[in-house]
């Protein structure tokens, strides 16, 4: 391959990346608009737009601006941070099966939040909830990476992740039993399924600062992920402090996932799926994968949240249930694809 050929190939790849990203962005915008237009009360597209900008009847205004808008913003932001966290973890561990939910981060964050709810320590709309969720998520990811060690193989990571999520689940059940609020079991059972229904701007204010901070931390490490693809030692020789990078990623994931879980409950598998959907289009460079994975996560969660409002059912379907129902078969497919690595590469 000559130098020109190489440059041409690189240009084609770059063009494909840009067109893929642009198409993705258009899809996200479309889904944002649909998300504002869909709900139990039928409003015409014109009425929705009018209400969004402060016109129309006050009922339509309240429905669009105070019920649907916060929900849409949360779906966008939470899907985005989940996709980004997945891409960052996969970059850090150079492992396509890494994702927040397989590592027990959302389950642990849920435990933190449940502790606050069940013990009646604070209003569910106070910052105590995301803070508790973030601390628990940080603890779980930190523990996982500490247990699994630096060059852990898939098997060890997944086993440790399984153990941590089971532990978080058991701890959550225990806290439910100890609660004095008679509704707590039902409330938490619902909440663990993950839902964006009837959230308000109070919830947006609760989650968004942490999600933005988490995203900023993860995005700032993009070049380190790229260096890491050459191997840990090569990365170190390029000036990447791998220990610090790990800490940054754990903090970023914990902030993002913790903030998200605190307002929606656990929504799984978006972090796993999003980077995989983007790899064929964007390539395997983990630095370039971050932003498209985030948008894919947004698109996935927006689409899932639109679907739960459209699918006819007697009681509302929880969005977390839908993402898991789609995500788990995908995970199984990934395991099948990685079978050889899993079977042979017990590190």
């Amino acid at each position: 391959m000559s130098v020109q050929d190489f440059a041409l190939a690189a240009e084609v790849a770059a063009r494909r990346r840009w067109s893929a990203t642009a198409a993705l962005l258009a899809l996200v915008v479309l889904l944002l608009v649909i998300s504002l237009g869909v709900g139990p009360v039928r409003l015409s597209p014109l009425a929705v737009i009018e209400a969004l900008f402060g016109g129309g009847s006050d009922v339509a205004q309240v429905i669009v601006r105070e019920i649907r808008l916060p929900r849409t913003i949360l779906a966008f932001a939470i899907g985005g941070i989940l996709g980004l966290s997945g891409a960052a973890l996969q970059g850090l561990l150079r492992n396509p099966l890494a994702s927040p939910s397989l590592f027990g981060a959302p389950q642990s964050a849920a435990f933190g939040a449940v502790l606050v709810i069940a013990l009646g320590l604070a209003d569910v709309r106070s910052y105590a909830l995301p803070v508790a969720a973030i601390i628990a998520a940080f603890g779980s990811v930190f523990a996982l990476l500490a247990i699994a060690g630096r060059n852990a193989g898939l098997l060890i990571l997944i086993l440790a992740g399984l153990a941590i999520s089971s532990f978080a689940g058991a701890a959550t059940a225990l806290v439910m039993n100890l609660s004095s609020n008679p509704f707590v079991v039902l409330e938490i059972a619902f909440w663990l399924l993950g839902s964006l229904e009837d959230r308000s701007f109070q919830h947006v204010a609760l989650a968004l600062p942490f999600i933005v901070a988490g995203a900023a931390i993860l995005l700032s490490q993009a070049s380190a992920f790229r260096a890491l693809t050459l191997g840990e030692e090569a990365a170190q020789s390029l000036g990447v402090d791998v220990g610090r990078l790990r800490l940054f990623v754990i903090t970023g994931v914990a902030l993002g996932v913790g903030g998200a879980v605190a307002v929606t409950g656990s929504i799984g598998f978006i972090g796993l799926v999003a980077p995989h959907l983007m790899r064929p289009l964007i390539g395997h460079d983990p630095a370039r994968l971050l932003v498209p994975s985030a948008f894919t996560g947004s698109a996935l969660l927006l689409a899932a949240d639109i679907a739960v409002r459209i699918i006819p059912s007697t009681s509302d379907i929880k969005v977390g249930v839908l993402t898991s129902i789609i995500g788990v078969p995908f995970f199984l497919y990934l395991i099948m694809r990685e079978r050889r690595a899993l079977g042979g590469g017990v590190a």
């Binding site: 009360v41 609020n181 909440w191």
Partner: protein, 277 residues
């Protein structure tokens, strides 16, 4: 039907062992709703034990009074040694426990959960018969009817549409006790307009669109101890239904159908006065 069952059980008891106790049967109540009926109709020395939740002020209107009596575990174990003449149970209590008590020769009187004011009157009367204090039952029914009349005088001129909303947006349907309270006072349960005549969950959007005159909730205040309660404090709902458009009826007044409904109705009257001012 209910009343006949209870009367039958009482009659059976009278035939077998009534003569031994001139002061009326000594009883155990196994359910928080029957606790409250027993507490308001029985003599103190008739009450041997009350249900596990009898002292829960959140569920029971008579929680304070219940503190004077033993609280039971809810199982059969601590009922048997008390050797009550009658055990009052709800058909919602554990079947295994009921069967065990029956197998040990105890007389059970079963009460259902009333859905209408007529059924409530029947139950009060039935409990009066069981406890051998029919005069007290009659007085309680009269108190209930007077409270209905007072509430009616306040409400019936306006025909307000009221939507009873609970946590997570659960709306009580037409066949609920709360709905029969509203109807008895001349108010309309707006659940039917939402297509929730049988009760069910209403979305925030649908409630905002419907715009009933008032919503009826069980709690005032601004604290959301869980997401279910946060539903009722959502800014969209608070905008159209601030405190001045919320009728507050504490759960302990409405969760059981019994003599406390007179208090519930008086509270409803007061609340109507407050919100229509």
């Amino acid at each position: 039907m209910m009343r006949r069952l209870a009367a039958l059980a009482a009659a059976a008891w009278l035939i077998c062992c009534g003569a031994a106790f001139a002061a009326g049967p000594r009883i155990v109540s196994m359910n928080v709703c029957s606790d409250q009926l027993v507490l308001s109709l029985a003599d103190p020395d008739q009450i041997l034990g009350l249900s596990r939740f009898s002292r829960d002020a959140w569920q029971s209107w008579a929680a304070e009074k219940a503190r004077n009596y033993p609280r039971l575990s809810g199982g059969a174990e601590d009922v048997l040694p008390l050797k009550p003449d009658l055990v009052v149970v709800s058909l919602f209590d554990k079947r295994a426990t009921r069967d065990l008590l029956k197998a040990h020769g105890l007389h059970l009187v079963e009460f259902t959960v009333p859905r209408t004011l007529d059924e409530v009157r029947d139950q009060i009367r039935a409990m009066g018969d069981v406890l051998q204090h029919p005069d007290r039952a009659k007085a309680e029914i009269a108190r209930l009817d007077a409270a209905i009349a007072r509430a009616r005088a306040e409400a019936s001129t306006h025909h307000y549409r009221v939507l009873p909303v609970e946590r997570r947006g659960f709306v009580s349907g037409d066949s609920s006790l709360i709905s029969s309270l509203l109807t008895a006072t001349g108010l309309t349960n707006a659940a039917g307009e939402l297509g929730l005549g049988a009760g069910g969950f209403a979305s925030l959007e649908a409630i905002v669109k419907l715009r009933p005159d008032f919503i009826l909730v069980s709690e005032a205040g601004d604290r959301a101890e869980d997401e279910g309660r946060a539903f009722l404090l959502h800014p969209a709902l608070e905008r159209f239904y601030p405190e001045s458009r919320r009728i507050v009826l504490p759960e302990r007044l409405t969760v059981c159908g019994g003599v406390m409904l007179a208090d519930a109705l008086d509270r409803l009257t007061e609340e109507l006065r407050r919100v229509t001012k």
